[in-house]
Assembly symmetry: C2
């Protein structure tokens, strides 16, 4: 007899090993019952990271034979929730199967490969959940970074945005650990790293464009592939206009020798700058407040918030599929604009 909920982790990638697993082990509302990966080897590698002092989960995989498939996890009564962290194109069918089995789902971002697939997923999920009473949450750990959460709460006090710039620049080299998975090297979906990582920067940017008048309305972008090993594109540069007519830029490159992780926003009543782990807030005419944050990726906070939302019976507002859809639309419209040499794209969902 236990008061915890049984949870399974679906996926055995780097992020599962480094972030989801410790977050689940840390969460007092959960007990980890199962791990699934495509290969037993990968599931075992993940399980090997669990301290001996903790009850060990059962392992499932495509190559484990009868009674050890993904469907078998979904039939377990002692598992009420699953975290799904698979390659982008595999996600929707795994999500729908889990929801159909009545399991609550936390699925990794992006919600799907494109807005159209995401809308189909949301429609299917709504239909399924109305009968199974399961819930779908989409993970976006950047909304749980303490730095961005603080910046978002400050942004809400500063009124109309005047102008802004977002600069996330780095170079994914061929020996990068995130690069060394086939699905990332030869992406069969738009944007490559600019989709996979880009939705994070979209989410962060949207946190700083709070309030109806600050919502992004129109975007135009140029895209480019500057590094041969980063198809289909590795660089996007966009201009954005908000509902109130303010303007800003969004720059993201996975193929740049420059290094930047910066959000700089000027509002009616002050400015907010995020650079790395440092957040600087300065009211107009007032003094700078500088806050240094410890580097954390927010996954522990995210998993804890999700567990609590299951207890509460209501998806956390920071984890709704609609938020994830808007993040996806934020970058997809840039890709579309870039494909069309900078055509004007209107945001519909934000």
């Amino acid at each position: 007899m236990t008061s915890t909920m049984g949870v399974a982790i679906i996926g055995g990638g780097l992020f599962v090993k480094g972030s989801h697993l410790p977050a689940v082990l840390e969460c007092e509302l959960f007990s980890l019952k199962a791990i699934y990966s495509r290969s037993l080897k990968s599931a075992q590698e993940t399980a090997n990271l669990i301290p001996d002092s903790v009850p060990q989960p059962d392992l499932y995989s495509e190559d484990s034979g009868a009674g050890k498939s993904y469907q078998d996890i979904l039939q377990r009564d002692d598992i009420s929730a699953v975290i799904i962290a698979l390659p982008i194109l595999s996600q929707p069918s795994f999500i729908e199967a889990a929801l159909s089995a009545g399991k609550h789902v936390l699925a990794e971002k992006p919600i799907a490969k494109d807005v159209s697939a995401a809308r189909a997923l949301i429609a299917n999920a709504q239909r399924i959940c109305s009968s199974t009473k399961a819930t779908l949450a989409i993970a976006e750990n950047i909304r749980f970074f303490p730095s961005f959460a603080y910046a978002a709460s400050e942004a809400a006090k500063l009124g109309k945005v005047h102008n802004f710039s977002v600069r996330v620049l780095w170079r994914i080299e061929p020996d990068n650990k995130w690069y060394n998975t086939t699905w990332r090297q030869k992406p069969d979906y738009q944007g490559g790293f600019l989709l996979d990582a880009g939705v994070h920067w979209a989410a962060a940017t949207r946190l700083l464009l709070t309030g109806d008048e600050n919502k992004p309305e129109t975007v135009q972008a140029f895209t480019a592939q500057m590094c041969e090993h980063l198809p289909p594109i590795d660089t996007v540069n966009a201009i954005i206009k908000t509902q109130s007519g303010a303007t800003g830029v969004f720059q993201n490159s996975a193929g740049s020798l420059l290094q930047a992780f910066e959000w700089s926003f000027s509002y009616e009543k002050g400015t907010i700058k995020i650079a790395g782990e440092t957040v600087t807030v300065q009211p107009a005419g007032g003094e700078e407040h500088v806050k240094e944050f410890t580097r954390t990726n927010g996954v522990s906070e995210e998993v804890a918030a999700w567990a609590q939302s299951i207890v509460d019976g209501k998806v956390n507002p920071l984890q709704t599929p609609e938020q994830a859809l808007a993040d996806l639309e934020f970058v997809e419209k840039m890709f579309t604009s870039g494909d069309e040499n900078g055509s004007t794209q209107k945001y519909e969902l934000l």
Copy 2:
């Protein structure tokens, strides 16, 4: 009997007092013979800044009566060159009159209020100069900043540009010294401060986009007026595509609470960053070289280069009207795009 050339300064504004006057006094090739301003009071104020040890120039103005007009300066045989630093809309007629009188001219940027007026000026100047043998140079002091000159020479070694960002953000408050002239408060020309100061940032950006393949080809921009006291616009955010297909952003605001003076460029073979007076060059895979420059506005270097060019009989390549025209086009195409909600504009002159 002297080996120096007689020069006159036309204008009595802040920049004349703070920069042109000391630059001329410092230049061994020149002797200052005359100062002209609209009012004698202003000409006198400028002259008051000249040390007693230096021969005092004659003063000319619109309110000084017979023999003391601008035309009277142009008739003096002991004056061979004039520096013209008047409000933007006044410049062309003063320039043409001086060239007609056979005087060499260094005229302040922007070359004119728009590309069309600049082309007319250049055509007129060519026609006039072919008979009078005078020469027309357009001032752009940023090309003589030691920091930008160094960055430009480094940029030329780094190959194809991959991506870039330019961020020049500040707030012109109503009590700003540059704001307190009628022609700047109620500009009768495009762009306001974004033209007047913007051509500097255009020139600096073009220095870092050296080589044919790196030339800006296409631009799209959103413009906005966020501060009531800064008509017609105070903010431009643009995306630029180069001949080779690389992309970058150009941000300029005179109405932002953010402060930035930054050029960040990634090329095939390394990066260059200019932030304030600091230039950082980093070859790909190599170490950063950081150079700190003393703050200077380059006007002494600019005036000395111009004087030397007169001696040499050939306009300095950094001071040709064509360079100034390209700087003007760089920003004008952004304003046009902004007026048309981000329409695609092709650069023709760069």
